[in-house]
Symmetry: C2
Subunit: 202 residues, 2 copies
DNA sequence: CGACACATGTAACACGTTACATGATTTG
DNA sequence: CAAATCATGTAACGTGTTACATGTGTCG
């Protein structure tokens, strides 16, 4: 349900054709998410079929210019006024993976956690780098999109630390002494205190 | 790519048929994510076609029992050993919505933020309630899945606060005095300090 | 001319959803 | 017996991906 409304929103600025829509979409999210051009056309067809968009009469030959209809504007307004709910979101693959790793025989859960943490931290560095390479620093939406990913990654790291701590508590070790400080891992007691606090206050 | 590996992981415990797979999957994630039964069968067909799964010979008539193959075990191990990367994840609809709201004429961005915050906080309360209704308190995977959603929701709230703060900074108000404390909103200066700190250290 | 950006589409496939059709077995 | 649960599938559709086919315009 995402690209559909994205297209409607971009057409609210004024009529555009498919190729322009892709360029605009990628601009407004800072190129973070490349938009498939084929999908733009199929989505436009469906939007036209549903009466949310129409092709301008003057479009001949190569260039088909689309504009939003009254019905389209109304749908778009509804989209903006409706929050994104849990049921709308896709399943969290990482959470599923860890839940399954815990109950599947022969899986080293700690290794899964560690591998993921490393990857996520690399991703965060990449975002941070993007944020500081100035050429787009002025664009607010682009900056906020990057922040969204940073906040998400941070939460993921915190959750992974929390998982490791729970693991240590519920599955008493096994390997030789591994209590020494390791880079990239948080202090468990603090993380746990946070989690408890959260549960109490919410 | 999610259910596919979920099924493989469950079959690692031992042979099962389609219906059982759904029940097991929903159990291991605490019923948080209902799994469509139709999809189980179509996915099993694809897995069988790809040689990752086979039907046991003794299955006759109604009950088709599936078991994992050597190739399937190998694929599963690869899945567990490979981190979930940014490119694997679906686009964040909320981030897109806010980015578009900022550039689309006639959209009250603050209202979008506020509506989303309310919805997300309701969701968090629901998760917290689930966590405390004891009947499953002992199940570690289930508890961690719920924690994942809680951590995510928290991050979302923080991001929404951050958006509101950025908005206030870049789009100097408009409405009558609204600087009074409002319930459910964080202290902006602290949030901003956090964000800056993040950018500096990463 | 040849490469590249602009521009529009289609085909095939994976995955997810809702809904429907069909039966066996269990239990009130 | 009737309803619920167990069990297996198919059909249609939306959305997303990769890949292919097909042109025009521009610039070196």
């Amino acid at each position: 349900m995402s690209i559909r409304y994205g297209i409607l929103a971009l057409l609210e600025h004024g009529p555009k054709h498919g190729y322009q829509l892709r360029v605009c979409f990628e601009e407004s999210t800072g190129g973070t998410w490349p938009l498939n051009i084929g999908q733009v056309y199929t989505t436009l067809s469906r939007l036209e079929r549903d009466g949310l968009v129409r092709t301008r009469p003057e479009s001949e030959g190569g260039q088909r210019t689309y504009e939003i209809t009254k019905a389209g504007r109304s749908e778009l307004a509804t989209w903006f006024a409706t929050p994104v709910l849990r049921g709308d979101r896709p399943r969290d693959e990482l959470a599923i993976k860890l839940a399954l790793a815990l109950t599947t025989p022969g899986v080293d859960v700690r290794a899964v956690v560690q591998t993921q943490r490393t990857a996520t931290m690399r991703t965060m560095q990449e975002y941070t780098r993007l944020k500081s390479t100035g050429d787009r620093r002025s664009d607010l939406s682009w900056s906020l999109v990057l922040d969204a990913m940073l906040f998400q990654s941070e939460a993921e790291i915190r959750w992974l630390d929390h998982c490791e701590a729970s693991l240590t508590r519920h599955r008493p070790h096994a390997t030789h002494d591994s209590t020494a400080a390791r880079p990239g891992r948080a202090r468990h007691s603090q993380e746990e205190a946070d989690a408890d606090e959260r549960a109490r206050t919410a």
